[in-house]
Amino acid sequence: LHAALVVRTFRLRPFHFLLATGGGYAGYRQYEKYKEEQLEKMGIEIPIKLASEWEVSLYKSVPTRLLSRAWGRLNQVELPTWLRKPVYSLYIWTFGVNMKEAAVEDLHHYRNLSEFFRRKLKPQSRPVCCYHSVISPSDGKILNFGQVKNCEVEQVKGVTYSLESFLGPCTSTEDMQFSQTSSCSSLQNQLVTKEGNELYHCVIYLAPGDYHCFHSPTDWRVSHRRHFPGSLMSVNPGVARWIKELFCHNERVVLSGDWKHGFFSLTAVGATNVGSIRIYFDRDLRTNSPCYSKGSYNDFSFITNNNKEGIPMRKGEHLGEFNLG
């Protein structure tokens, strides 16, 4: 009996330790968040606290891709009809989903959470602005926008990432809008094809409750796709403020081509819960797949002998979607 008690106590200790340290850390993060909110209310600018290298390495060591795939598999399990309404209602309540905009409002219609997540909208719920040349490709929150300077792009104010790391090295193929180059500064110059033009960027964060399909932001032609398998860290604004080059670490699909003013690209960046990306006209694309290793990339050209212009996209046209896991 004594031995059994000792073993039991010993077994419980790691759990207690994890609970205490995890709880302590969560409490500390909440306190930090509270302090930041108070400073923001007082109009004081919050100093940027970037994650150190070991913190990024530690986060990257978490098997986020495996977790994401497990999450995806779990959400593909068909729910019994009686369970659908309570499960989806909890999701709606937690993430503030507006079901009145959904093409199908009846919750029993969606066989699993993945299908619910991919729900379509009523056509009249999102009128496409016809007066402006660039529209929002998705629902979300604007994290940052502006001009690209010195080959650095801002993911949030003051936290940058390298344009070259994000888009990958230049290719010399004819289908890309830019040619072989050796330095980063010239990459920006090479992307700008017309004199007097500048390079601009815009970052839109999609929260879990948002409509997760994305559309063409303008009239353009997609000539190239580059898929970067990578980590699947969270991309919420707090993490984007904490980890420099976050979007360069994560799995992403870069679609590039041209519009009436020159180079144009749209990149879909994955996250832990939303690990896979689908592009409707690209049937060969497989994201969040174990067969790809981090750090590599896969190119695909839409320019063929039969189609020298690539894939023409109209403003507002369906382009792709994010999927759970």
């Binding site: 929002s136 929150k141 390079l199 932001p217 879909a268």
Partner: protein, 32 residues
Amino acid sequence: STIVLIFEAPKNFNFHLKPGQKIRFGEALGSL
């Protein structure tokens, strides 16, 4: 998940946005 747009445009391109604002698909991002 996040969408990043990087594009070339003339110098007089203007964004009609504020950082942190909510946006919906189809609304204006910017124009010349």
